[in-house]
Symmetry: C2
Subunit: 172 residues, 2 copies
DNA sequence: CTGGTCATGTAACCAGTTACATGATTAC
DNA sequence: GTAATCATGTAACTGGTTACATGACCAG
């Protein structure tokens, strides 16, 4: 039983992330939101125009976001911010236990669950190369907050540790 | 430059996982493939009929899978196996470094990148509850191989460790 | 004056979702 | 006999993708 009038179905990951970006980076343009997704370390969200603009239009229509026109010189733009409903929805997303507990998608995990399809040699070499590639080429999300980069590195290290421990189990 | 005649675009995660299932579990039905996805620890793939049957039809048409009719009593079914092309495609997927290095989607990671939107108390409590929920209620993929359950537990523990270390950084 | 960035959007397409529909077989 | 499971599929919908298109502004 919600106290809400409307059905208030909970936000998707893309919607929640979008609201979080807009909340953090103040009134900002859809272009900026796209940019954040484009520079994110995961390639799950391409941040394509065809995804972001319609999404934002939808959120505005649902009263989650409000937009206001602005211009810098002759160049026009739209500044987005959260409505009160939007703030509530974001809070709900941030504190959603079921969703947060979800293990999501990890391509290496999928592959290791099929470890019987590799030879041991193959697997060892594959894991080594892949983890090397990850450490060298997955970019941190760009942020003014210096901790974001640090946190990113911690994530990568833990992922590597997990993969290597699983590899041990498989090979032992 | 491929030695292939056909374009051979690489498999998606769902396609690769599907081939891996069929390869591991011998000639099997689409129904079985669905079942594996339905019981997987991640809810990324629902294993809905509307996803699996068309996917398999597609893979058959592309010469990746071959199907053969079978019946148990009056009940008809289709048994799937990989073609030679399919074996090659699967190998390619299993050994794809770029894809394996991808960090994919992790709902908790997304949220922790927006840690400034929580109060410290809120965040501590959220993480604790969420990790508890994960350890208690994310099912291991069902498999005859006993290591699969063990590996699953290792993954969960590492994920918790990662989340907790990141939390330390945020709160310090 | 050219290339990069800021800025917004659309169109065709694709792959997944939920919900529906059917029917045989097996276990209680 | 009835509920669960095995088995296959479709239809309407949703929400992403790539590719295309336009235009202002700024730095060299």
């Amino acid at each position: 039983m919600q106290t809400q009038g409307k059905a208030e179905k909970s936000l998707t990951e893309l919607e929640g992330s979008t609201l979080a970006i807009i909340k953090k980076d103040g009134p900002c343009t859809p272009y900026h939101v796209r940019d954040v997704f484009k520079c994110s370390p995961s390639d799950i969200w391409s941040g394509s125009a065809g995804a972001v603009y319609p999404l934002i239009k939808r959120l505005c229509k649902n009263g989650i976001l409000k937009s206001k026109s602005d211009s810098v010189g002759k160049r026009k733009r739209t500044l987005l911010s959260l409505t009160r409903t939007g703030e509530r929805a974001l809070k709900g997303w941030l504190l959603d236990i079921e969703s947060g507990a979800e293990i999501g998608l990890d391509p290496m995990r999928s592959r290791l669950h099929s470890s019987t399809l590799y030879t041991k040699k193959e697997l060892r070499s594959y894991v080594k190369k892949t983890m090397q590639h990850m450490m060298n080429s997955i970019p941190a999300p760009k942020s003014k907050d210096p901790r974001v980069a640090e946190i990113h590195q911690v994530w990568l290290s833990h992922r590597r540790a997990a993969v290597e421990e699983v590899l041990e189990i498989i090979l032992r």
